[in-house]
């Protein structure tokens, strides 16, 4: 039986479908999870995808970190479930304190905010990722 990997969608997530596609390309079954649910549907691992959850309002990932699904993700992670945060997903993990934040005592070293900002500049932008637009995808076998 294929490994089942959950991908959480938050309001403002952009790269959830991209992450689901990556899960399938890796040979696993992608399970779409919803931020408002308390159900992880028994998945074997979780991906928090990239994007701009809640428009990056307050702080990147700060509001999403308090989503109903995240209490489940935090408990599951504590029990050993693998969780991958990509870009904004990584920022959400830092806000939940599942990942430690870095704090610098000097003015020349980077702060946690700078590391989070760097992570958010690396992914494909909206409109430039083939797989993020259903109309552009041309490989039925990848679905």
């Amino acid at each position: 039986m294929a490994t089942r990997i959950g991908v959480v969608t938050f309001p403002g997530s952009l790269d959830d479908r991209d992450a689901q596609r990556a899960v399938r390309l890796a040979g696993a079954e992608a399970v779409a999870l919803w931020h408002g649910d308390h159900d992880l549907q028994g998945v074997d691992a979780i991906v928090l995808p990239g994007g701009f959850s809640y428009g990056d309002y307050l702080r990147c990932g700060a509001i999403a970190a308090h989503s109903p699904i995240m209490s489940e993700v935090i408990d599951a992670a504590g029990a050993g479930l693998p969780v991958l945060g990509i870009c904004n997903g990584f920022q959400i993990l830092v806000e939940t304190q599942l990942l430690p934040g870095a704090s610098s005592a000097t003015t020349t070293a980077t702060s946690c905010a700078a590391i989070s900002a760097c992570a958010s500049r690396t992914p494909a932008r909206p409109g430039r990722t083939r797989s993020s637009r259903a109309t552009r995808s041309s490989s039925p076998q990848e679905r």
Binding site: E95, S103, S104, T107, A109, S111, A113, A114
Partner: protein, 81 residues
């Protein structure tokens, strides 16, 4: 209805990239009066009813646990507007 103002600033020992970029822009404009800039946030919380000590304490707790990220930010003020 009364309002409570919360102010959040980056911790003083941290590099503030946004503030530093702004200070650099000021320098490029030829302004030498202001040598450093740090950027924070100001929240206005509307209160239903009276601002009691309990309400202020609740605002302080909210400020520390949610409105700011204590790893990189300080709550520098919680006051009735």
């Amino acid at each position: 209805m009364p309002t409570i103002v919360v102010e959040v600033m980056p911790k003083p020992e941290l590099l503030d990239p946004a503030g530093k970029a702004t200070a650099g822009a000021l320098a490029k404009q030829g302004a030498s009066t202001f040598t450093d800039v740090r950027i924070g946030k100001r929240f206005e919380l509307t209160v239903e009813g009276e601002v009691t000590d309990a309400v202020l304490a609740e605002a302080q707790r909210l400020a520390e646990e949610f409105l700011s990220n204590q790893v990189i930010e300080d709550v520098v003020a919680v006051k009735v507007a």
